[in-house]
C-alpha cells in the first residue's frame, strides 16, 4: 500500500513537472492573448505581438506559440501604416507559419491561418496581387473546410474578401452577406480554450452590420 502510494505520488510529481512548463507557456499565451484582444492602440498591439514572438522563440516546437506569433503579426500588418514595412512583417510571420505547417497538416485552424496570411499579402497591393494570392487563399479555404466544414473563420475571411471586392469582379455586399451571416451563426460554437483559436467574432459582427446597413440603402 505504502509502495503503491509512493509510485502514485512519484508519477504525479513527474506529470506535474512535465506539465508545468506547458502550463506556464499556456499561461503566458493566455495573458498575451488577452492583452492583444483588448489592445486599443497600435503600440499595445505591437507589444503583445512581440510578446507572442518571444514566446514562440522560446518554444519553437510548440505549434500554438508559433500560431499566435504568426497570427498576431498578420492582424498587425493590416494596421501598419507604412506600406513598405508590411511585406517584411509578413516574411517574419511566414517563418513562424512554415514551422507549424510542417508539424500538423490536419488542423483546420492552421489552414485558416494560411488563408489569413495570404489575404494580408494580397491587401498590400490588391490590384496586382489579386491573381496570385486569391488563388492561394482559396486553396487554404478548401483545405480548412475539408477538415471542418463548420469553421466560422473560413466564412468570415471569405465574406470579408468578397465585401472588399468590387461587384464587377464578382464581389460586393450581396455576395458577402450570406457568408458573414453563416460565420455569425457558427461563432457561438467556439470554445474559449486557448488551445482552440477562437478569434474573429467581434470583427465578423461588425462586418455583418456594415454589410446589412449597405444592403438596406
Amino acid at each position: 500500500m505504502k509502495k503503491t502510494l509512493i509510485i502514485i505520488v512519484a508519477t504525479l510529481a513527474i506529470l506535474v513537472s512535465k506539465n508545468s512548463k506547458a502550463q506556464s507557456v499556456d499561461t503566458s499565451l493566455i495573458q498575451t492573448y488577452t492583452a492583444f484582444d483588448t489592445a486599443k492602440v497600435y503600440p499595445q498591439l505591437l507589444f503583445a505581438s512581440n510578446q507572442f514572438k518571444l514566446i514562440a522563440k522560446q518554444n519553437p516546437t510548440y505549434w500554438l506559440a508559433n500560431y499566435y506569433a504568426a497570427w498576431s503579426i498578420a492582424i498587425l500588418s493590416f494596421q501598419e501604416p507604412d506600406k513598405k514595412k508590411k511585406d517584411p512583417m509578413l516574411d517574419e510571420a511566414d517563418n513562424f507559419f512554415s514551422k507549424i505547417e510542417l508539424m500538423d497538416t490536419a488542423n483546420d485552424e492552421i489552414a485558416v491561418l494560411g488563408a489569413l496570411l495570404s489575404n494580408a499579402r494580397l491587401s498590400v497591393d490588391p490590384q496586382s496581387r489579386h491573381g496570385k494570392y486569391g488563388k492561394i487563399s482559396q486553396g487554404y479555404y478548401d483545405q480548412a473546410l475539408k477538415l471542418n466544414p463548420n469553421n466560422p473563420r473560413v466564412f468570415y475571411l471569405q465574406g470579408t474578401g468578397l465585401y472588399y471586392t468590387p461587384k464587377l469582379f464578382g464581389g460586393g455586399p450581396e455576395k458577402a452577406q450570406p457568408l458573414l451571416a453563416k460565420a455569425a451563426s457558427l461563432f457561438p460554437n467556439d470554445s474559449q480554450d486557448i488551445h482552440k483559436p477562437h478569434w474573429g467574432k467581434a470583427a465578423n459582427d461588425k462586418m455583418l452590420k456594415d454589410c446589412n446597413d449597405k444592403l438596406k440603402k
Binding site: A35, N50, D87, P88, H130, K167
Partner: protein, 727 residues
C-alpha cells in the same frame, strides 16, 4: 495619420513594459535604441535572450525592462528594416543598468539597392518594378500588343512603316525578343513593305516583362541594342472558358486547373475585313489579313517549387496589299503574303534547395513565307532551335551567382526567280555572372560571356559590369558597361558572304532613379560606340537605293561604324490624383552611323532626335470603366533626297498621334465581360513618314502610314469573374 499621432503621444506618455513579473531579485535595464546615425528607433523590440522578458521602445527610442537577476544577460534589439543588435551584460551588484543599442540598416529587406541601368521592368511581384503587367494592357495606342506598350517607354522609336523594335539608334535586327530565356525566331508577323506589323505576343501570356535598352546581363547576347525579356505565366488562376469577338476575328480559349497542373488551349479565326472595311486606308488592302491559329500549353508544378511548361503554337494567315512600287513611286504593286508559323517549347526549373536551382529550356520554331510581289514569287523558310541550361546559386546573403550554356542554331532558305540561297548558323555561348552586395548601399554585378559562331568561324569574349549605389533614402545611381557582339543580319548571311566578323557595340550607361510612394522619376544618359558594322561595298557611281526591301545586296565587309548618345527621362505619378495614373517619357538622341549601303555617315531614317510620350489612365469605379489617352510626338525623321548633297540630310514634319482606349466591364448573370474600344490617331493627323523620289529626282511622293484614324472594338467574355488586373 491622426491615429498615428495619437498613438505616438500615447507611447511617449507611457513606455510599455512587461505584462506581469514576479517581484523578487529584480534588476532594471534602461536605455535607448538608435540608428547608426543616432536617430532614435521607435517601436523597436528589446528583449532578454532565452526569456520572454521584453519591451517596446517609445517614440524617443527609450525602453525599460525589469528582469530577474542573473549572472549574465544577452540583450537583443530588433526592428523591421534593421539588422538585429545584441549586447552581453554582466551585472555587478547594482540594481539598474543602462544599455544603449545601435541598429544597422538591414541589407536583405527594406531599401535594398537594385541595379537598374538600362532596364525597365513590368512585374507584379518585385517591389522595384516601374510598371506592372496590367499597365501594358491598359495603355492606349498599344492595341494589346506588348511591344506597342514598350514603345511608350523612353529609348524606343515607334516606326510606323517598319516592323520591329528600334532601340536607341539601333535598327530592328539589333534587338532580340526572349521568352523564358530563349531567343524567339520571328517575334513579329512577317514584314510588309511600308506597314509595321504587330508582335506575336498576346497580352495575357506573361507574368513578367523586362525591357533593356542597353547594358544588359551576360545571360544574353547577339543583340547590339537591347532585349525584351518575357517570362510566361505559371499555373492559371482557375478553370475557365473565354470567348473573344472583335473586328479582327473570333477566339475561344479554356484553362483546366488541377491541384498541381493545368492544361490551357485556344483556337482563333482571324479576319480583319470588318476592321479594314470601315477604316479609310492609304494603301489598298484588297485581301485584309485572315487566318487560323491554335495553341496548347501544359504546366506542372510541385510543392517544392519545381515547374514544367510545355507549349505548342501554330498560326497561318494570308494578306494582300497594294504597296508603293519602290522603282516607280507613282504606281503601286500588289504584295500578297502567305505565312505559316509553328513553335514548340519546353521549360523546366528544378530547385535543389532554397539557395540553388537549375533551369533547362529548349524550343523549336519553323516559319514559312510565300510572297508574290508584283508577279515576282519569293519563297522563304526559316528555322531555329534554341536551348539553355543554367545553374543559379546563392553563395551567401551577399553573393548570388549563375552560370549557363546557350545554343542557338538557325537557318534560312530563300528562293526567287532562279536564285536559290540558304545559310545555317550555330552559335554556342557560355556565361558566368555574379551579383555582389558588399555593403547595404552598394551592389556590383560583373559578368562575362563567351560566344562561338560556327558559320563565321569566330569567337568573342564580352565583358559586362553594372553597379548601383544608394543615394539618400529613395534615390539610387546605377552604372553599366558592356560589350555586345552580333552576327551580320540574316539578309547578309543569306547572300553567302561569311568572311565577315561579328559586329560590336560598347555601351556606357549612367542612371539616376528616385522612387517614393508611387512616384517614380528616372533619368538615364548613355553613350554607345558601334564597331565592325556590316557595310556593303557599293561600286563607285552607283546611286544610293533607299528601299529596305531590295532583293540584292553588294558584297560586305566590317568597315561600318557609328555612335549613339542621348538622355532618357521618365516620370510616373500614380499618387497625386485618386484613380488617375500617368507617365511621361522623353528621349533625346544624337546618333550617326555608316553601315549597310549608306554612302556617308548619317542619322538613320528610323531615328527621330526627340521623342515624347504621355500616357494617362483613369479608372472610373462606377460604372467600372478604364479610360486611357496616349499622346506620342516624334520630331522629324531623316529621309533620302537625291538632290541634297548631304546624305539623309532632309527631315520630315514631326509625327504626332493621339490614341484613346476605353474598356468597360459588365456582367450578365454568370457571364463576365469587357467591352473595349480603341481609336488610334483620334485627331486624324496627316503624318508623313518620308518621301520617295522619281528616278530623275524631280518629283517626290510622300510615304504615308497605312492608316490615319482607325477604330477597333471588341468584346471579351469569361465564365469566371475578371480580376481587376486583367482589365
Amino acid at each position: 495619420m491622426k491615429l498615428i499621432k495619437k498613438l505616438q503621444l500615447l507611447a511617449l506618455a507611457i513606455p510599455i513594459t512587461l505584462l506581469s513579473l514576479p517581484a523578487n531579485a529584480q534588476m532594471v535595464i534602461k536605455g535607448k535604441v538608435s540608428e547608426a546615425k543616432g536617430k532614435p528607433v521607435p517601436f523597436a523590440t528589446v528583449y532578454v535572450k532565452n526569456t520572454i522578458s521584453g519591451a517596446l521602445t517609445d517614440t524617443l527610442g527609450r525602453y525599460t525592462i525589469k528582469v530577474n537577476k542573473k549572472e549574465n544577460i544577452t540583450l537583443i534589439a530588433t526592428a523591421i528594416g534593421f539588422d538585429t543588435a545584441s549586447y552581453n551584460l554582466v551585472p555587478d551588484t547594482g540594481k539598474s543598468f543602462i544599455v544603449n543599442l545601435t541598429l544597422g540598416t538591414n541589407s536583405s529587406s527594406l531599401d535594398q539597392v537594385t541595379i537598374m541601368a538600362g532596364s525597365m521592368e513590368a512585374n507584379n511581384d518585385r517591389k522595384v518594378a516601374v510598371l506592372t503587367t496590367l499597365d501594358i494592357y491598359t495603355t492606349a495606342g498599344a492595341a494589346g500588343d506588348v511591344v506597342g506598350a514598350i514603345q511608350t517607354l523612353p529609348g524606343v522609336e515607334k516606326v510606323a512603316d517598319q516592323t520591329g523594335l528600334f532601340v536607341r539608334g539601333g535598327d530592328a535586327s539589333e534587338s532580340a525578343a526572349i521568352v523564358d530565356g530563349l531567343v524567339v525566331q520571328d517575334p513579329f508577323f512577317s514584314p510588309v513593305p511600308g506597314v509595321a506589323q504587330r508582335s506575336r505576343f498576346g497580352p495575357y501570356e506573361f507574368k513578367g516583362i523586362s525591357f533593356s535598352s542597353g547594358g544588359y546581363s551576360a545571360r544574353y547576347g547577339q543583340a547590339l541594342s537591347g532585349i525584351l525579356d518575357l517570362s510566361t505565366n505559371d499555373l492559371p488562376e482557375a478553370t475557365t472558358f473565354n470567348a473573344n469577338v472583335n473586328m479582327a476575328g473570333v477566339g475561344l480559349s479554356f484553362s483546366k486547373l488541377w491541384d498541381h497542373s493545368a492544361l490551357e488551349g485556344g483556337v482563333n479565326y482571324t479576319n480583319t475585313q470588318p476592321f479594314y472595311g470601315i477604316t479609310k486606308t492609304n494603301l489598298d488592302f484588297f485581301q485584309p489579313p485572315a487566318g487560323v491559329g491554335g495553341n496548347l500549353r501544359y504546366v506542372w508544378t510541385n510543392k517544392a517549387g519545381d515547374i514544367l511548361k510545355l507549349t505548342a503554337n501554330y498560326n497561318q494567315y494570308k494578306s494582300g496589299i497594294d504597296v508603293v512600287n519602290p522603282n516607280q513611286p507613282d504606281t503601286t504593286l500588289a504584295f500578297k503574303l502567305q505565312n505559316s508559323y509553328g513553335t514548340a517549347s519546353l521549360y523546366y526549373k528544378h530547385l535543389f534547395n532554397e539557395r540553388t536551382f537549375l533551369t533547362v529550356a529548349t524550343s523549336y520554331t519553323q516559319n514559312g513565307d510565300s510572297v508574290n510581289w508584283g508577279g515576282e514569287i519569293f519563297d522563304k523558310q526559316d528555322k531555329r532551335t534554341a536551348g539553355r541550361i543554367e545553374l543559379d546559386h546563392e553563395i551567401s546573403d551577399k553573393v548570388f551567382a549563375y552560370a549557363g550554356f546557350e545554343l542557338q542554331s538557325y537557318s534560312e532558305w530563300q528562293q526567287f526567280d532562279s536564285v536559290d540561297i540558304s545559310f545555317k548558323e550555330t552559335i554556342l555561348a557560355g556565361y558566368l555572372e555574379a551579383e555582389w552586395k558588399p555593403a547595404k548601399w552598394i551592389a556590383i554585378k560583373p559578368g562575362v560571356r563567351y560566344e562561338y559562331s560556327q558559320l563565321l568561324g569566330k569567337s568573342d569574349v564580352a565583358p559586362r559590369v553594372s553597379a548601383a549605389i544608394r543615394v539618400g533614402k529613395y534615390g539610387q545611381v546605377s552604372l553599366a558597361y558592356g560589350m555586345f557582339y552580333q552576327d551580320p543580319s540574316d539578309k547578309y548571311l543569306l547572300f553567302g558572304d561569311t568572311k565577315t566578323n561579328f559586329q560590336e557595340a560598347t555601351h556606357y550607361i549612367a542612371n539616376y532613379q528616385y522612387m517614393q510612394n508611387d512616384r517614380t522619376f528616372r533619368v538615364e544618359g548613355y553613350y554607345k560606340s558601334y564597331n565592325d558594322l556590316i557595310r556593303e561595298i557599293v561600286p563607285e557611281g552607283v546611286p544610293y537605293d533607299p528601299n529596305p526591301y531590295r532583293p540584292f545586296f553588294w558584297p560586305v565587309d566590317n568597315s561600318g561604324y557609328g555612335y549613339a548618345k542621348g538622355v532618357d527621362v521618365f516620370w510616373r505619378d500614380k499618387k497625386s490624383i485618386n484613380d488617375f495614373d500617368y507617365w511621361i517619357s522623353y528621349s533625346y538622341i544624337d546618333t550617326k552611323r555608316l553601315y549597310a549601303n549608306y554612302i556617308a555617315e548619317a542619322q538613320p531614317d528610323f531615328v527621330a532626335n526627340n521623342d515624347l510620350n504621355i500616357v494617362t489612365k483613369y479608372f472610373f469605379e462606377k460604372p467600372g470603366m478604364n479610360v486611357s489617352l496616349t499622346y506620342n510626338y516624334a520630331s522629324g525623321r531623316p529621309y533620302y533626297n537625291p538632290l541634297n548633297p548631304t546624305f539623309l540630310g532632309d527631315r520630315t514634319i514631326p509625327y504626332q498621334d493621339l490614341a484613346l482606349s476605353i474598356s468597360y466591364l459588365f456582367r450578365v448573370k454568370k457571364l463576365f465581360g469587357v467591352f473595349y474600344l480603341g481609336i488610334d490617331n483620334l485627331t486624324n493627323n496627316k503624318n508623313i513618314l518620308g518621301y520617295n523620289y522619281s528616278d530623275n529626282g524631280d518629283v517626290r511622293y510622300p510615304i504615308e502610314p497605312a492608316l490615319y484614324r482607325s477604330l477597333f472594338a471588341g468584346i471579351f467574355l469569361s465564365l469566371t469573374p475578371f480580376k481587376k488586373d486583367e482589365l
